[in-house]
């Protein structure tokens, strides 16, 4: 056949689109403001596609378990973890984190784990949401 793409194109016209319209059917003028409105229950969100098991999202830190061995600082590829020597704990700057979960693997007491939160974009790298301690 000379033009083999014609068939798939016609079929496509009757298929449902693949795209999941996230966060809303029509793009809001400000996504941040829209998500804030969702947070206080003023707007409804179109849910994102669920993350797969073992997804690497925002780090969860169990502060009580941490023994302050600083091994995670040694293996972190982007220097995102800072030591707090006076209380023997750590501080993670998520703005620098590359979500490799290497600190999870190296931790001897398993106080770090990867969550499934992924909406982390922001304008201030030192905001409260982007620092885990």
């Amino acid at each position: 056949m000379g033009f083999s793409m014609l068939g798939p194109v016609f079929k496509q016209m009757f298929k449902k689109p693949w795209t999941n319209k996230f966060p809303a059917k029509y793009q809001p003028s400000s996504t941040t403001k829209y998500l804030e409105a969702v947070g206080v229950g003023k707007a409804k969100i179109n849910p994102p596609i669920p993350t797969p098991p073992n997804f690497r999202g925002k780090i969860k830190y169990d502060k009580d378990k941490c023994i302050g061995c600083n091994l995670c600082i040694k293996v972190c590829p982007c220097g995102a973890i800072e030591s707090k020597p006076e209380e023997k704990k750590i501080k993670i700057y998520l703005a620098r984190c590359c979500f490799c979960s290497q600190c999870n693997d190296v931790c001897p007491v398993k106080c770090l784990s990867m969550g499934d939160e992924f909406l982390l974009a922001g304008t201030d790298p030192y905001s409260k949401e982007l620092i885990v301690e």
């Binding site: 220097g79 800072e82 700057y93 620098r96 030192y126």
Partner: protein, 181 residues
């Protein structure tokens, strides 16, 4: 599965012997390393060969006569008093599990880091030779195209990013690790 042998292909031991017979003491050292992989533990051989600068071009000529080698890249080390260039070749490609990695290294004195071009034998070496010239400050004698390749044209003279002495790029480097407090 034993590697099939083509009519004039040499195995690693024969190849080393061939070069040692031909160049005698100009081959300073030659070492064969083998690494096994997979469940069947098939081997891949690697030859590390150190040659004198004077014999270098002839070694490449003999290599081209044996089989046109594939030259992936030339890498380099700044070893303090000398600059080591390592030419990574592969030969015997085209048959199943028969390829030999051949790494030929040459030491150049830092006071006069010069080496002859091999572009006349292997035209594909041009990109990597141009890179060595700008990154390590090695002068490639007879290179057909001596312009800069990766670095911008207004790059300061006598600064070479791969050097580890005062001609290195230390002062142009910003510390990116600092975290704002």
């Amino acid at each position: 599965m034993s590697p099939k042998k083509e009519n004039n292909q040499k195995n690693p031991e024969e190849l080393v012997k061939y070069f040692k017979d031909e160049f005698k003491t100009s081959i300073r050292s030659a070492e064969i390393k083998k690494r096994k992989a997979g469940s069947k533990k098939n081997e891949t051989s690697t030859i590390w060969m150190k040659v004198e600068k004077s014999a270098f071009k002839d070694v490449i000529k003999h290599l081209v006569d044996y089989q046109f080698p594939h030259l992936p890249v030339v890498s380099g080390n700044d070893l303090g008093k000398t600059i080591e260039l390592i030419y990574h070749f592969t030969v015997n490609y085209g048959t199943r599990m028969n390829e030999i990695n051949l790494h030929i290294s040459v030491d150049l004195p830092k006071s006069k880091p010069e080496i002859e071009t091999i572009c006349d034998l292997i035209p594909g070496a041009l990109v990597t030779e141009r890179e060595k010239q700008e990154m390590l400050g090695v002068k490639i004698v007879g290179i057909p195209d001596a312009r800069k390749l990766f670095l911008p044209d207004d790059w300061p003279e006598n600064i070479y990013p791969w050097r580890r002495d005062e001609t290195g790029p230390e002062k142009y480097y910003k510390n990116l690790h600092e975290v704002k407090k």
